[in-house]
């Protein structure tokens, strides 16, 4: 099941081996191993408390207060999109995009990134003046302006309404096609995972319980037979029994 189509050439950009992370007596990640190929879009599903965010934070180097062991290799150029847009409220939109970007042409790059997410013209707005979806688009621009080899996204659309979420899916897909970063998208939305990802992982009991390559042709139609099959399989791994969507 673990054989995947994309990125057969070259070494993986992310390599995790026997990762253990625990909070006190509770072991959250228990010997987890994972490879992500260059440019591969991986979605990570799992029930609440299954350790999705713990894994993502470990890859983002944000878990220095957590005890554990294991080996993690990630590229130097990586960026994180959080569930909240996490814009600094005292910086204008463009300043937020280029925050910490130490390049002579940072401002131009920032403008290009804002244009890509459809927010040119809002460079000098304050974050508080933007809608939730717009703020998250600024956060996407802030990640992409760094040309990451790895994009880590922790339920980035979880706080958005359903319509905005669908538009954000299209946007993220386009941006990833253009910039080709490897992506690890943590989500609890099975449809989101199947729509966007090349490969979907299910995390359970601190290890990867399922690793499914999504072979639904793009653009992916939720009504496609294969979409329904994969969806049911993923839901089963997540402990939700469903009846087949279509008679097979």
């Amino acid at each position: 099941m673990a054989s995947h189509l994309g990125g057969l050439s070259g070494a993986p950009v992310v390599r995790v081996e026997s990762l253990v992370r625990s909070f006190g007596p509770r072991t959250i990640l228990d010997g987890l191993s994972l490879d992500i190929e260059k440019g591969e879009f991986v979605a990570l599903l799992g029930r609440s408390g299954s350790g999705k965010s713990t894994l993502l934070r470990a890859l983002a180097d944000l878990d220095d207060k957590v005890s554990g062991s294991g080996r993690i290799e990630t590229p130097d150029k990586k960026s994180v999109v959080f569930q909240d847009a996490r814009l600094l409220p005292w910086k204008r939109v463009l300043e937020n995009v280029v925050l910490g970007l130490d390049l002579p042409d940072a401002a131009e790059r920032g403008q290009v990134a804002l244009e890509e997410v459809g927010l040119s013209g809002r460079e000098t707005a304050w974050p508080v003046e933007l809608s939730g979806g717009e703020q998250q688009r600024v956060a996407l621009a802030r990640s992409l302006v760094r040309d990451p080899d790895l994009l880590l996204a922790d339920e980035p659309f979880g706080a958005l309404d359903a319509l905005t979420r669908l538009r954000m899916h299209d946007l993220l897909r386009q941006l990833c096609a253009r910039h080709q970063p490897a992506v690890l998208l943590v989500t609890h939305d099975v449809d989101e995972a199947v729509t966007l990802a090349d490969r979907v992982l299910v995390l359970d009991n601190g290890a990867i319980a399922a690793d499914i390559v999504i072979d639904v042709p793009r653009p992916r139609d939720h009504g496609h037979r294969r979409f329904g099959e994969i969806r049911s399989e993923l839901l089963r791994h997540l402990g939700v029994e469903t009846k087949p969507v279509l008679p097979v």
Partner: protein, 292 residues
């Protein structure tokens, strides 16, 4: 009709019970009166002046009607007359300049020292261990109580006065800036980490702007503290300044000059607060608060 709505219809023999859709509970009727909005309404133009103007009217009416003894409180116009005389003689300006200069020096030193201490203590555990205790002890001692010691150390000259003011000023600056530094959202610290900011950049872009609201609150308190301390040091031992002018007038029973001095203090205090607020609003224009 199902059993439940049927029962209800019997229980409520009022017209809407026979409505085709079944029950329309009374609560579903549109409310005519709007609910009380929780946000404040629009600001009243020049609203801040209404209260003081009212006081002035009462004062004037009381004086005209003879209800207020001029020895207790002279009429507003005689206070204005006295002020004009004092300005014509050049006394008021001299005292004012002396007082303002003292307050300014004390403020500058107090703000600088308070800010630096807050940064050291707010940004490192060691700094906090060394600095926070002494500042809290100083906070517990009223400035007034320190004056005898300051007089022994610095004499009765300007040095003592400026030191006393600076010591009073640094406390609110320190407390507010420090607590504001420490309450910066840890999510922003994480963000800075994922953006690979350097320490200097992190301080400049995240910590300092985040602590600015606290600093400004401290600054507004500090300005008030500066004028309070000024009154104390100028009445304890001085040969010039507004406080000295008031103290001298008290000796001769010149209530009108005392009032002029108090009005000057009030105007200075309000003026300085206005200046601080002006800069506060410009620097913190990214915020949306209840006041907007």
């Amino acid at each position: 009709m199902n059993a439940i709505s049927h029962t209800a219809a019997v229980a409520l023999p009022i017209p809407y019970a026979s409505d085709e859709r079944g029950l329309v509970p009374p609560a579903a009727k549109p409310r005519k009166t709007g609910r009380r909005r929780l946000a404040l309404g629009r600001a009243i133009p020049l609203g801040a002046l209404i209260g003081p103007a009212l006081l002035l009217v009462i004062w004037s009416l009381g004086s005209v009607a003879g209800l207020i003894d001029p020895r207790t409180l002279p009429a507003p116009w005689s206070v204005v007359g006295t002020a004009i005389d004092l300005i014509a003689e050049g006394k008021l300006q001299d005292h004012l300049m002396t007082s303002a200069w003292r307050a300014a020096q004390g403020l500058v030193f107090g703000i600088l020292i308070g800010t630096v201490l807050a940064l050291i203590s707010g940004l490192s555990r060691v700094g906090e261990a060394i600095i926070d205790g002494p500042v809290q002890i100083k906070r517990a001692i009223p400035t007034l109580a320190l004056i005898p010691l300051l007089m022994l150390w610095f004499g009765i000259g300007e040095g003592m006065k400026v030191t006393a003011i600076a010591l009073a000023v640094l406390i609110p600056i320190y407390i507010q800036t420090h607590s504001s530094l420490r309450s910066i959202d840890s999510r922003y610290v994480e963000l800075a980490q994922t953006l690979r900011m350097g320490y200097g950049e992190f301080i400049r872009e995240v910590i300092l702007p985040g602590a600015l609201p606290g600093f400004f609150l401290g600054l507004r308190l500090a300005v008030t503290y500066a004028w309070l301390s000024l009154v104390v040091v100028e009445q304890v031992n001085a040969t010039s300044g507004i406080g000295y002018m008031i103290d001298l007038a008290r000796n001769y029973g010149q209530t009108d000059i005392v009032i002029v001095g108090l009005v000057v203090y009030a105007l200075l205090g309000l003026g300085c607060d206005g200046i601080v607020r002006f800069f506060q609003e410009r620097s913190l224009s990214w915020r949306r608060t209840l006041a907007d």
